[in-house]
């Protein structure tokens, strides 16, 4: 399976989905106009990847995002949640120490997905 790399823009994060290592990274801001179209390849890649492997690490460092991105990330974690019994999935939600919004967003996801392994990681 091929890796998926999407370069960062001013309003969409850098996305790197590495097929060899199983490491998925998203970092930057997220407020596209058509969020679901933008992330469609990402969701598709994850679904396909789950059929080829059972170990995934997801590192997410999103500075701020619009409400449709929030919904999209929820769906993304939901997809992980459906595979949690058969796959080893670890999610690192990374944020700057002074970014309370990002911290709170991470806490909400932890509460929403109590059976997923989501770690809050503070960047020094």
């Amino acid at each position: 399976m091929e890796s998926l790399i999407i370069e960062e823009t001013k309003y969409t994060p850098k996305i790197s989905m590495d097929a060899a290592s199983g490491v998925i990274e998203m970092s930057g801001k997220s407020y596209p106009e058509n969020t679901f179209d933008f992330y469609a390849p990402v969701m598709k890649w994850l679904e396909d990847y789950f059929t080829t492997t059972n170990k995934i690490v997801i590192n997410m460092e999103i500075i701020y995002f619009n409400s449709s991105s929030s919904k999209l990330f929820f769906d993304f974690f939901d997809l992980c949640d459906e595979k949690r019994d058969t796959h080893d999935i670890e999610i690192n939600w990374i944020y700057d120490a002074d970014n309370e919004n990002a911290e709170e967003a991470g806490e909400d996801f932890i509460e929403d997905f109590e059976f997923l392994r989501i770690n809050l990681v503070v960047k020094k």
Partner: protein
């Protein structure tokens, strides 16, 4: 509800304006405006939490206005001047605000008014809970934002005011919607 008044009164009453835009909003413009807002707000020595609240409320409000205009195109309805207008500033009370004004279909007024009235009547904890419920319930639905945009705004601000104004006869069949979100 008290009248929010004209744009002129908003501008005159309040202290600092970071950004004013009137006209058709596009994503490319929104990105440029957000970038300029980031510079302006960060230069104002505001803490990061407040800064991010301002950016996210601004983006949410702007994308709402964009959705109204694209809806118009999709429905092949009679084109109207969307009169999109957005202002970000800091009032004399030192609180930041996002003000917007746009033309929308009267048919959409009830739905929006109901949502806004609900949100305004809720305390912050309730808004957070409703936001998460809406995000969860809209699972697998690919509607724009799953209807959580207004909860997102409410989570990030202290006060929301709005009004519908049909006094302008040049927008027959439509209504002018004014909205102001005051952030801490």
């Amino acid at each position: 509800m008290k009248r929010m008044g004209s744009l002129e009164s908003v501008l005159q009453n309040d202290g600092v304006i970071f950004l004013t835009y009137g006209g058709l909003l596009t994503q490319a413009l929104l990105v440029a405006l957000t970038e300029s807002l980031e510079k302006g707000v960060e230069g104002d020595a505001v803490n990061k939490k407040t800064a991010i609240n301002i950016f996210t409320v601004f983006i949410e409000v702007a994308q709402n206005i964009m959705n109204y205009s694209s809806q118009k195109q999709n429905d092949n309805a009679v084109p109207f001047d969307t009169r999109g207008l957005i202002v970000v500033g800091k009032g004399l009370d030192d609180k930041y605000y996002v003000f917007s004004q746009n033309v929308m279909a009267i048919a959409d007024q009830d739905k929006l008014e109901t949502k806004l009235t609900e949100v305004i009547g809720c305390d912050r904890e309730t808004v957070k809970r409703l936001y998460r419920e809406a995000r969860r319930d809209g699972r697998h639905s690919h509607s724009r934002g799953g209807g959580i945009g207004m909860y997102e705004i409410a989570k990030k601000c202290e006060q929301i005011e709005f009004e519908f104004d049909q006094s302008d006869k040049t927008i027959e069949g439509n209504t002018l919607f004014r909205f102001k979100a005051t952030i801490a």
